[in-house]
């Protein structure tokens, strides 16, 4: 059964026009997200993951600007909508969970007030019904004693509780698409596991699709159906989660996977591999493939030309001239 297409990003570009030159934070990203599917977007810090997610909601601040492409959500291009129409979509059809639960809640309002606001804006309910709904949402995300917590201020709650409140806020209007921008990064691992469990649970319940942005490959393996690996504003590999982990083709993906310490590498006394070098300065991008200065497999053509995102086997796209053929063999070397 073919799933219904919910979000299609076509050649999306977001550039920052700074005093020192144009920074191509998002440089021609293509993504497809089907209904109630989880798409993981992975990459190092500074590779444009967050900007990409903000671009979908059109929340990129000056000096950042959309420089082309389309964001087709339910058949309509969000980039062509008016600010007024966008406001109606934000929060009701596309919701977002932010990285820092410590700062993403306004310190002067109670938790309940803030969750309730989304409901009051997007739904035709009076304050009493909204309050009831809010308490229900708080209960749904596992906040104990929701009636009491409703009247508490953000500083009275722990990070995990706040992130639960953020999730309640995001899900209060049953969005079709939930963007989670490093939603668990600021939490410690046990809380992280709880929050992920909760998100997975709720995702099934309300049948929302999730764009799951993270730098943590382990989380992607846990959450996502398909994975897009981003490097310097471009997608370098795109496939199902199984393919990415079992059969990574792009040297960058391979490097990311190899740089995770595991019990097996310890047993076999294999040294932990790291990707050499640093991400290039956005003001001084290398010619050709952006990854070539750090790539152990780079050849002459890599230094001259940016490779295209090619389908090398059904459902597996790679942006590389020399994709890795057999990951297992390479790792033996």
């Amino acid at each position: 059964m073919k799933k219904e297409l919910l979000l299609e990003i076509k050649d999306l570009k977001t550039y920052f026009y700074t005093d020192t030159g144009i920074v191509k934070a998002v440089d021609g990203i293509n993504l497809k997200l089907h209904k109630s599917e989880v798409l993981g977007l992975v990459g190092e810090s500074g590779c444009g993951k967050s900007v990409a997610s903000l671009s979908i909601l059109r929340l990129v601040d000056q000096p950042g600007k959309n420089a082309g492409g389309e964001v087709i959500f339910k058949g309509e291009d969000l980039l062509k909508k008016s600010e007024e129409e966008m406001r109606k979509i934000r929060g009701s059809e596309i919701a977002m969970i932010f990285q820092e639960p410590m700062t993403a809640l306004n310190p002067v309002y109670t938790i309940g007030n803030q969750v309730m606001e989304a409901i009051l804006i997007h739904q035709d309910v009076n304050e009493e019904e909204a309050k009831k709904k809010t308490v229900k949402m708080l209960e749904l995300v596992g906040i104990p004693d929701p009636e009491k917590r409703f009247n508490e201020y953000p500083h009275e709650m722990s990070g995990g509780m706040r992130q639960r409140a953020m999730i309640a806020m995001a899900l209060s209007c049953n969005p079709d698409l939930l963007i989670s921008d490093e939603a668990t990064t600021a939490l410690d691992v046990t809380i992280q596991a709880q929050i992920l469990e909760l998100m997975k649970d709720l995702q099934k319940k309300i049948e929302a699709a999730i764009l799951f942005i993270t730098h943590d490959l382990a989380l992607v393996a846990e959450m996502a159906d398909t994975v897009a690996v981003a490097y310097m504003g471009k997608i370098v590999e795109y496939s199902s989660v199984k393919n990415i982990f079992k059969d990574p083709r792009h040297p960058y993906t391979y490097g990311l996977l190899k740089s995770i310490p595991s019990l097996i590498t310890k047993k076999t006394k294999q040294p932990l591999l790291a990707i050499e070098g640093m991400i290039p300065s956005p003001h001084n991008m290398p010619k050709g493939c952006y990854f070539h200065p750090r790539c152990p497999f780079a050849t002459d053509i890599c230094r001259k030309q940016m490779p295209e995102l090619k389908e090398i086997k059904p459902g597996h796209l790679v942006r590389c001239f020399n994709p890795i053929e057999n990951a297992k063999e390479v790792s033996k070397k």
Binding site: L57, L59, R90, G91, F98, A104, V108, H122, E156
Partner: protein, 294 residues
């Protein structure tokens, strides 16, 4: 586990709200309490006590000019036979009304200008802030005098003039705060749930700027009372038929050696009121932002 929970809840009881903590800190500030009590007494003295007095502000006893204090006229009478005590009470009304209005009206205006400039930034910020700069570079007192002359004398005009020239400081404070507040993640989060800009400016961010605004407002009250006294002293404020502490000083200029109390009492009232408001302002500043000044 469950026993532990109930214990914790027992000791924690109801979490302390921001307001109650601020109140607690304010109450620890002795000078501020003195200021508050003194302002309270002055308000009662000006607005409630006159209700129990038989003479109005225009009452005068021509048979008892420059009269010294006695049981009928508690502080004596002035050159026109007005009862000084009554005039002080009615004068307090005007001075306080001028002080409060001159603090609140320009604050509202300044908040709007500063919020819009700081939140939107760019061109709007540039235009609004250059206008603010222009207003700030005008020497205030000569302009007060010119405007007072132009619009005629009267309480309302004084308030208008003060409002016209008093909003810039607030605008600058608020703009600065909005510049940093709009970068906060919760501003972005609010946008992400579809909150409109106007609502973000006035509902989400405004409460975060209230602390310095409140402090600046209390300090403005004292300043406005002083300025009113100054203008009235120069004969450009409120006309002599309506008593204010300022014009009571003016009217008694020539009598300063004949009957010093005619000058001393209004002077003491002005001094006390301004000092009290400044104490309250200090207390508020410490209470609202304990990180500073400690």
């Amino acid at each position: 586990m469950s026993t532990l929970r109930t214990e914790v809840q027992f000791t924690e009881s109801k979490p302390e709200s921001y307001l109650s903590r601020v109140t607690k800190r304010f109450l620890k500030h002795k000078l501020a309490i003195i200021g508050l009590i003194s302002v309270g007494s002055i308000v009662i003295f000006s607005f409630i006590v006159p209700l129990f007095f038989e003479y109005g502000s225009t009452f005068s006893d021509f048979s008892y000019l420059y009269g010294s204090p006695n049981s009928q006229y508690l502080l004596g009478t002035d050159s026109m036979g007005h009862d000084l005590f009554t005039r002080l009470m009615y004068g307090g009304r005007i001075s306080l009304i001028v002080g409060f209005s001159a603090a609140i009206i320009p604050a509202i205006f300044g908040i709007i200008v500063g919020a819009v400039a700081g939140y939107y930034g760019g061109l709007a910020d540039n235009i609004l802030m250059r206008i603010t700069d222009a207003f700030l570079s005008v020497p205030a007192f000569p302009i007060y005098m010119a405007l007072a002359k132009l619009m005629g004398q009267g309480v309302l005009n004084i308030i208008l003039v003060f409002s016209f020239l008093g909003w810039m400081t607030n605008a600058r404070i608020v703009r600065g705060m909005y510049l940093s507040l709009k970068e906060n993640e919760y501003t972005e989060a609010a946008k992400a749930i579809g909150v409109s800009n106007a609502r973000i400016i006035f509902r989400h961010l405004l409460p975060n700027t209230m602390a310095p605004i409140l402090v600046s407002m209390t300090l403005t009250v004292g300043g406005a009372i002083l300025s009113e006294a100054g203008l009235s002293f120069l004969g450009l404020g409120v006309p002599p038929s309506t008593p204010t502490w300022g014009n009571m000083l003016t009217n008694s200029q020539q009598d300063i050696f004949l009957a010093p109390r005619l000058v001393i009492w209004p002077g003491i009232m002005i001094f006390l009121t301004v000092l009290s408001f400044n104490f309250i302002g200090d207390g508020l500043r410490d209470a609202l932002d304990p990180k500073l000044y400690r």
